[in-house]
């Protein structure tokens, strides 16, 4: 087998940005992607946009989005749990990424219908993340990058502060290569449910994985076991509340449910447990993963009536429909009397007022615990509709500690020939929470940096 200068572990956005940058800089590059070709691209397959700083309207982005505003948005979602130097680097570099992406085959489209709130901050990929991944693979191959699919890396051998060997399986054989440089861009460990259960607790067995089943954290664990430095809370994952009928893996965007603000949400005992109307949904969907995860059996039930059915984006699975609350309770297997009671208590606590679905309308319950502080309208007009909610894991926070050159930090000293990019080092910047489209920003910025540094190293 031909010896390549650089081996890139992983085949998503960050890996491809690194591969393309390194190949354009003259290096010979091998991509080891654990997924088969139809599933290549990791979680990037499911993405739809990237968050981009800009001083003035550019491409599909309107107005401006300054470094400071971007950084403040990041501070809000992470509660300050970020590395300011790396975060500002990602933010500043994002504005150079947009033209780079366009020059490398990525097409953008205006903000999608139903996502106007992101028109200023996020540039949407035409066709979504898979079309971006396709464009990058096509370009990478034209640059001479060799791609092996179904080639999971099993071990990265470290000696001192050098990677000396990469072991992987390919076509039923155990293979080894000894490149001059290695870039790890193989994501988090969320698809390893055993690991998730060890980290989070046994309830993680009821979590759904929104993205690729191939992010099993094999290389992450292998390197951490050899003393590579980590960042990020090893016990935490980012989870949102999604349709309970979603597939176990790879359900992606369509499994989201946007109806919570217009509903009441109960647990399996038919009790409400949180203020459904706390804020507009884009600002709240992320906390509901955790809220549902903390309920018995990690399940929630969203109940709306016919007034609200068309106020939110259509769901991929049709809701459960019933003409009465008893019938709905029966179909959802909830205690009927209790659900009746919860709903009538809620209905009695609703007040008259002007309902406005797209802004905080202050239409609040009175004397109810927990309250619903916006969009509180009685649930009384049949037919009634119900959805189940489950926590859907997007990614895990545990990753490699890197410096501003994406260089991985070894036990004693920075690694001489190992870089990391994408989800696998995002914990350096995103200590908690999530900012829509920021994962692709981190992947693109640090993928390009890693590709540049690795290719300079092998020259």
């Amino acid at each position: 087998m031909q010896q390549h200068d650089i081996v890139i572990i992983g085949g998503g956005n960050a890996a491809l940005c690194a591969a393309i940058t390194a190949a354009e800089n003259g290096a010979s590059v091998l991509i080891l992607e654990s997924a088969p070709k139809p599933y290549r691209g990791g979680n990037s397959r499911h993405t739809r946009n990237f968050r981009c700083m800009h001083e003035a309207p550019v491409s599909v982005l309107v107005d401006a989005y300054s470094e400071q505003e971007y950084f403040e948005d990041l501070l809000k979602v992470t509660g300050g749990n970020t590395d300011e130097e790396l975060a500002r680097l990602a933010i500043r570099e994002s504005q150079n990424c947009l033209p780079w992406m366009q020059a490398h085959g990525v097409h953008f489209q205006p903000s999608l219908s139903g996502t106007l709130s992101l028109a200023r901050t996020n540039a949407f990929f035409l066709g979504g993340g898979k079309s971006l991944v396709n464009a990058y693979y096509r370009l990478a191959e034209s640059l001479g990058v060799e791609v092996r699919y179904e080639a999971p890396v099993t071990h990265v051998e470290i000696e001192g502060s050098q990677v000396i060997r990469v072991d992987f399986d390919y076509q039923g054989e155990a293979c080894s290569v000894s490149p001059k440089a290695v870039v790890v861009a193989s994501g988090g460990f969320q698809a390893d449910r055993e690991w998730l259960a060890r980290a989070w607790g046994p309830s993680a067995k009821n979590f759904l994985i929104r993205g690729t089943p191939f992010n099993r954290g094999v290389v992450l664990k292998d390197l951490l076991d050899q003393g590579i430095q980590s960042v990020g809370d090893p016990t935490q994952c980012h989870a949102v509340a999604i349709d309970g009928r979603a597939p176990l893996y790879d359900g992606g965007i369509v499994t989201r449910l946007d109806c919570v603000p217009f509903s009441i949400v109960v647990n399996k005992n038919a009790e409400r447990f949180y203020n459904e109307g706390e804020d507009v949904w884009p600002k709240r969907y992320a906390i509901w993963g955790r809220l549902v995860a903390n309920q018995p059996d990690q399940v929630g039930y969203v109940i709306i009536d016919s007034k609200s059915l068309e106020l939110f984006m259509p769901s991929v699975f049709p809701p459960t429909v019933a003409d009465s609350i008893e019938e709905l309770a029966e179909k959802l297997e909830l205690p009927a009397a209790k659900l009746q009671q919860t709903i009538s208590e809620f209905n009695n606590a609703c007040a008259e007022g002007k309902f406005h679905p797209t802004e905080l309308d202050g239409l609040s319950t009175t004397g109810l615990e927990p309250p619903k502080t916006n969009w509180a309208r009685p649930i009384c007009d049949p037919p009634f509709y119900g959805y189940t909610l489950r926590p859907g894991v997007t990614f895990t926070y545990l990753g490699f500690k890197v410096d501003k050159n994406a260089r991985v930090q070894g036990a004693e000293a920075p690694m001489e020939n190992l870089w990391a990019a994408g989800e696998t080092m995002a914990g350096s910047i995103l200590g908690q929470g999530y900012l829509a489209g920021f994962g692709m920003t981190i992947g693109t910025v640090f993928g390009r940096i890693a590709g540049r540094e690795a290719s300079n190293h092998v020259k």
Binding site: Q109, S113, L126, G127, K130
Partner: protein
Amino acid sequence: MLSESIQEARRQLEICNACRYCEGYCSVFPAVHSRRAFDDVTVTHLANLCHNCRGCYYACQYTEPHEFALNLPAALANVRQQSWQDYTWPISLSRAFHRSGVAIVLATIAGLIVLMLAIHQLGSWQGEGFYGVLSHNAMVSIFLPAFLLPILVIAVSIRKYWRASHAGHTRGAAITETISSAATMNNLAGGHGEGCNFEDEDRYSNTRRWMHQATLYGFLLCFASTSVAILMHYFLNMPAPYPLFSLPKLFGVSGGLLLCAGTAGLAYLKLKADRNLGAASAWGGEMGFVLLLFVVSASGLALYGFGDTAALQALLVIHLGAVFAFFLLMPYTKMMHGFFRLAALLKDRNERLSRST
């Protein structure tokens, strides 16, 4: 059968409507996203609006082996094919020719035989050029009904389709936009101008768009050539043959060249493309139709090039026989896509205009 393919398309459209990543590719997705439910009429409309550019398939995160098994280009192609068949009388002819290239070849051979018999029986003892083989009056008596009857069948089909699709009030602006959309084939541009994903998986290319336009404009020029010649014959008393620098020849030769190149290109692309992203059961019929158009244009050009040689009679039989078959098969072949597509584009423009006001 129709309900089965509509059911499958509906299942897929509901997933698309929850995703929306493909919004910028073509006219289909904004039309999908403006709805919450998809009745049979709507699914058929969306199917006829789809130009089979396949951008959405290669971008889709839910194609097989994913359990959602999306293949929207194929799902819509099946509904579309079915709608052309089911809206056209008689359905049995429609089903046979849409699905079978062999049937088209047999019909073309039948066309050739009819022309041979006609020449043999009717012959001609006067006239220049091809009128020396078959007289003008004999040609008119064969081709006038062979042209008008299919046009009548098509008109009835389209009227039925238009009524069923509740297309709404048509404004002038909608007609202009529809014609411009067909004239530029902007739905095959991929939303970014780089074209569609047809002959080489996810690579964007405008080749199919250009080949289709060569075919379309070539066909229209040939049609214009014949129409002008008819006018010149009856109103200016200028019967064929015409010199090169005359309207019928200029239209006919340029149109023939475009049609020849366009259909050859489309047939080549069709061989390269993945059959499973179209109406797989109609592949033969579609290929047969493209090749028939190729024979029509190539034999027309050959007639121009070798019309004053001994090959005249043979070429005339081939050309007129192919044209004869083409005319009669119009309502039962891929030719129908143009009429249904125009109707769907017009309905779409009507909807857009009423959404924006």
